[in-house]
């Protein structure tokens, strides 16, 4: 599958890289809401936010924040938008998770906004109850995952100890 961001990482694209390390790439793409828009994304291919490991997401967010500060100070911006388009329905164009940093000035005519709605109370309440229940379900699923991981961790520890024994045995054998 063709991925614009992987192409940038592998230098198959004309898009210039502003910064890169082992995990994160910062690029200035040609299709932007406004000149000066900067894209921060993980080097590894993750399609949507939900697939990005926590440590990589943290790193991307910190770098996006630093880009935001750099934009404030060097492009003369009066504000920034930090945005993730997650899923086709959310306007995501490239199937590779990214954080966009959009520099803003007053009255720049950029339509990065929405119409605030006044929903009927019962509709708000149903949305709330659905999310509240969903949160409980998510918590219990994640607890189970943690438990399972703990078990896996134990297995690994045992395996490591075995290795250690083997190593000792091997070195014993080496003694003439």
């Amino acid at each position: 599958m063709k991925c614009e961001h992987c192409d940038i990482v592998e230098r198959r694209s004309k898009i210039e890289i502003l910064y890169e390390d082992e995990e994160v790439v910062v690029a200035i793409k040609d299709l932007s809401i406004t000149p000066g828009q900067i894209t921060v994304f993980p080097k590894q291919h993750f399609t949507i936010l939900e697939g990005v490991p926590e440590n990589i997401l943290e790193k991307c967010s910190l770098i996006a924040n630093k880009i935001g500060i750099a934009v404030f100070e060097s492009l003369g911006s009066q504000g920034t938008n930090i945005m993730i388009q997650n899923g086709l329905g959310a306007g995501q164009k490239v199937p590779h998770f990214a954080i966009e940093v959009v520099p803003r000035v007053e009255n720049d005519g950029i339509n990065l906004t929405w119409e605030a709605k006044q929903l009927p109370e019962d509709e708000m309440e149903t949305a709330f109850m659905t999310l509240e229940q969903g949160m409980k379900d998510l918590d219990s699923v994640e607890e189970k995952e943690v438990e399972r991981k703990d078990e896996k961790g134990k297995d690994k520890k045992i395996a490591k100890e075995d290795d250690k024994d083997n190593y000792l045995l091997k070195s014993l054998r080496r003694i003439p």
Binding site: E54, E58, G68, G87, Q118, M124, G134, L138
Partner: protein, 254 residues
Amino acid sequence: MDPQQLTPEQQKEMEEKLKNMSPEELMEFQKQQCIFCQIISGKIPSKKIYEDDKVLAILDINPAAKGHILLLPKEHYAIMPQIPEKEIGNMFVIAKRMSKLILKVLKVSGTNIFVANGLAAGQKVQHFMIHIIPRKEGDGILEAEGKLIDEEMRGKVKSLIEEKFNELLGVKKKVLQVEAESSDEEKEEPEEDGEERKEEKKKPSKKGKKKINKKKVVKEKKENKVEEENDDKDEEEEDDGGNASLDDIANLFK
């Protein structure tokens, strides 16, 4: 308090009071005036989706769409650059959970994670927040069109930003180097596990001497460790395959 309701004398008095305040007092005053600080302290009721000691996630009462969540730091910060790095990372991790929640329980085809820093960026209240907005195609939310930016312009942007950005990253690097130099002959901490010890041997210059140094160095290593753990997690998630709705959203691209 609405300033228009004050008499001219009261208004003058208020301005005078504000002028004489120390930065700390001014901060305190801002907090008192901030609706979201009052929501966090419980003075104003809200529909809470998630809460821990650092953050609160609530339903927006004037949402862009049904299920629009606001994620707030409990401490009062106006914009993202003011927030300690650790908390920024943590907030994005929680934003990911909120997005996962929305994708799982509401019938939507995506989410926007959105931050407005500054009035010019459309920020409406003085308390930093991350919006997590459920999205459907054609709902008219955050639909700014992209335009093609020519190479010359991109080069200009790069040269303007690069120096400042490297400076922001570079300061950190320098500090780490100084630490490494000033802390050569320190012994290892006993609680470190085998893998970290191996690394210690490889890079003896990174052993911490002072406590603060040590903490930072250990933190750096922890990051490495976390990476490994997360690799495991990835595999596991792939094994899992039970997360149908999320997979569907990711697979739409294929």
